[in-house]
């Protein structure tokens, strides 16, 4: 098939092969506990910022892993860094450092 350089179906699926894994790799390297998240949603349910806006840490972690840079960038800035998620997470994910590392990756790769 001819490659036109773009695809009409682009947003309909996650193309993990072509996804941008830069943030994910950076965070995994510097805060490996991002790997042990089980997407339970406790962090989102407890989130202080989540009372006012649609910050969803569980989803954010997933966006990072799936390479959804736009979503990641849009969400990350809303965190108040209060640490409630850190206290509540049943897996011991170092949530605040995950957030810091995502922020750093965004800056580092000028995303």
């Amino acid at each position: 098939m001819k490659n036109f350089g773009y695809s009409i179906n682009k947003d309909r699926q996650i193309d993990l092969d072509k996804s941008d894994q830069r943030i994910a790799l950076f965070v995994k390297q510097h805060e490996p506990s991002i790997n042990i998240c089980i997407s339970c949603g406790t962090c989102t349910a407890t989130c202080s910022a989540g009372n006012y806006t649609n910050l969803n840490l569980r989803k954010l972690i997933l966006s990072v892993k799936r390479g959804d840079i736009i979503e990641t960038k849009a969400e990350i800035s809303k965190c108040m860094f209060c640490g409630k998620c850190l206290l509540a997470c049943p897996r011991g994910v170092n949530t605040r450092n995950v957030i810091l590392k995502i922020n750093q990756a965004i800056e580092k790769f000028s995303l």
């Binding site: 202080s48 009372n51 990350i76 860094f81 640490g83 206290l87 605040r96 450092n97 810091l100």
Partner: protein, 591 residues
């Protein structure tokens, strides 16, 4: 005028030192902001000046604080600093008394014994000899100890002595040499001219019996002068810069200049004042419980001086403040670290979503702000609301349904500008309520409201508030026969100086027993938000060690006054952990 070529190295060193110091301190002063400068202008002409002199004497010379923590280390520092100081004073007085010359050079007192060989004609020659020898002996003993410490640091109860850079090495070795060389030089002079005190005189006689003193005399004085000169030149570039800097620091501090969360040239002064005594090393729980041995402030300040800041070290510290509490120089270590975090914290936050949010604030006389963490320990907030009701207080539970963070976690992670947006939002709600008192259950919020909110109302942690209610007999509580221990939360205890109120309140409720490390020395539970990157396992190890201290005497209850401490300790304790408010609520008599 006395002169000999060998005085040249000393003199050059001395002049270089003076110029560098003047330059450094003047530029530091110049870079201070307007407020700080005016504080200094006022301070110089006030009583504060004399207070500063006294403090310089006690700390820079006598090293009182080091003595308190570690007597042997204290003696080492005192003998070197105070001994040397007295030698300078003694030498100057000696040369003044004996002088018949109009022109005095700064090196005269230093090389006094070389130039003045016939002492019989001077008054009090023997007395001076005795004093100067005695002082030399003291300093030599300090040098010996420093030597021992370098190689056997365990003898001083320290686990690790700091690593040296080239200039540090020059300064250190020359410092080691200065006084032994002085000893030899003076002994040789004494041996040749039959004078000297009990030390140099005796040694002189001894040396003269087998050494060609005549040939050795001048080279030894040369060596002495060179070692002094080299030390002076190396000093401003070495760790010994802390000696003059600390003096400068003490003056400025007494004038009211301090380090806030932003790095200023005063902060730089503090960074330079650290003598690397290593006391902060041994106080740090990260070393004892978490196997982290490069974060402690002795190293952190070093990497800051060398501009080799490492991100991990900047963020893993708990900001528990134990090191700061015991730092003999009184450096504001927590704020220095906070000021550095912003370099690694991209300014990305955006709290615009808070703009349209209006927090409804009906009028009330007391505002209760539970804090984010308290929502995960509902017993604390239930106890507080129960007490408010029992006491008939007209209160408003500000963050009942949803809370905006007080901003401190963000601020201590380095993002103080963005933290201000959170501050403004909360502040507006608090002021609108018209309340006269703000009560919070979270020590983190308390410290924040107290120090960074500029609220013109009374800010109380619930331990203080409940004590007030009890003492005013607004609430009546029963005393139980429980045996309890109290865990000081870092932000409440060391962070805000509230040690006694909780203890007093508990004494109305139960028998409180002492534990090994408490009050200023209290351990951090491990849950601190001060650390950003400490792993869950390391936090658990810290908690384990804290619990072993708390549970040592098999108490019936562990009492604390912080939701975060409670939750952290509770998850690992065999003993029940309660917040002080719960204990009050359980034993309240009011209907």
């Amino acid at each position: 005028m006395n002169f000999h070529p060998f005085v040249i190295p000393f003199s050059i060193g001395f002049i270089v030192l003076i110029f560098i110091l003047l330059y450094k301190y003047f530029s530091l002063f110049y870079r201070l902001d307007h407020q700080d400068k005016s504080k200094i202008y006022k301070g110089v002409f006030s009583l504060k000046f004399f207070k500063a002199i006294k403090e310089v004497f006690l700390e820079s010379l006598l090293h009182r604080k080091i003595f308190r923590v570690n007597p042997l280390l204290g003696y080492m520092h005192t003998s070197l600093a105070f001994g040397w100081f007295l030698i300078i004073i003694g030498g100057t007085v000696e040369s003044k008394v004996h002088s018949h010359m109009a022109l005095k050079m700064p090196y005269d007192p230093v090389f006094f014994n070389f130039f003045n060989t016939d002492l019989s004609m001077y008054r009090w020659a023997n007395e001076f000899n005795f004093i100067m020898d005695f002082l030399l002996l003291i300093v030599l003993s300090g040098v010996c100890l420093a030597f021992v410490k370098r190689f056997y640091s365990k003898a001083f109860g320290m686990k690790k002595t700091s690593v040296l850079k080239p200039f540090d090495k020059i300064a250190l070795y020359t410092l080691w040499l200065i006084f032994p060389l002085r000893f030899f030089a003076e002994s040789f002079s004494a041996g040749l001219y039959n004078n000297g005190g009990f030390l140099t005189g005796t040694a002189g006689v001894f040396f003269s019996s087998f050494l060609p003193l005549k040939n050795l005399l001048v080279p030894t004085w040369w060596a002495y002068s060179i070692s002094l000169g080299a030390f002076f030149v190396a000093l401003p570039f070495s760790r010994y810069m802390h000696i003059p800097t600390e003096i400068f620091l003490i003056f400025l501090r007494n004038f009211g200049v301090k380090t806030d969360k932003i790095f200023s040239s005063f902060t730089e002064l503090e960074v330079l004042s650290c003598p690397r005594c290593g006391i902060c090393l041994d106080k740090c729980q990260l070393l004892k419980s978490a196997e982290i041995s490069d974060t402690q402030n002795v190293y952190f300040l070093q990497s800051l001086r060398n501009k080799q800041l490492n991100e991990n070290n900047t963020f893993d510290c708990l900001l528990c403040g134990r090191c700061q509490e015991f730092c003999p120089v009184g450096i504001n270590l927590n704020n220095i670290r906070i000021s550095q975090r912003k370099h690694f914290f991209p300014e990305n936050n955006n709290f615009e979503y808070l703009q349209p949010i209006a927090i409804a604030t009906p009028k009330a006389s007391v505002i209760y702000f539970a804090g984010c963490m308290t929502h995960l320990t509902p017993t604390i907030k239930l106890a507080m609301t129960g007490i408010f009701e029992a006491a008939g207080v007209d209160y408003l539970f500000l963050d009942k349904d949803s809370s905006i963070c007080c901003g401190r976690p963000l601020m201590i992670a380095g993002e103080y500008t963005k933290a201000n947006e959170l501050i403004e939002k909360n502040k507006k709600a608090i002021i609108e309520s018209g309340a006269k008192t703000l009560v919070t259950s979270c020590p983190i919020c308390y410290k924040m409201f107290n120090e960074d909110y500029d609220l013109n109302i009374e800010v109380l942690h619930h331990t203080q508030y409940l004590l007030q209610l009890t003492e005013k007999q607004i609430i009546k509580i029963n005393k139980t026969n429980k045996k309890v221990v109290y865990h000081d939360p870092c932000e409440l205890g060391r962070g805000s100086g509230i040690f006694n109120e909780p203890r007093e309140l508990i004494s109305h409720l139960a028998d409180i027993s002492k534990i090994k490390e408490e009050k200023e020395e209290a351990l951090c539970c491990g849950g601190s938000l001060g650390s950003v990157n400490l792993s869950f396992n390391k936090r658990n190890n810290i908690r384990k060690d804290v619990l072993s201290v708390l549970q040592e005497g098999n108490p019936d209850l562990i009492i604390t006054a912080c939701p975060l401490c409670k939750k952290t300790l509770q998850n690992g304790a065999n003993t029940e952990v309660k917040d002080i408010a719960e204990l009050v609520m359980q034993n309240i008599q009011n209907q």
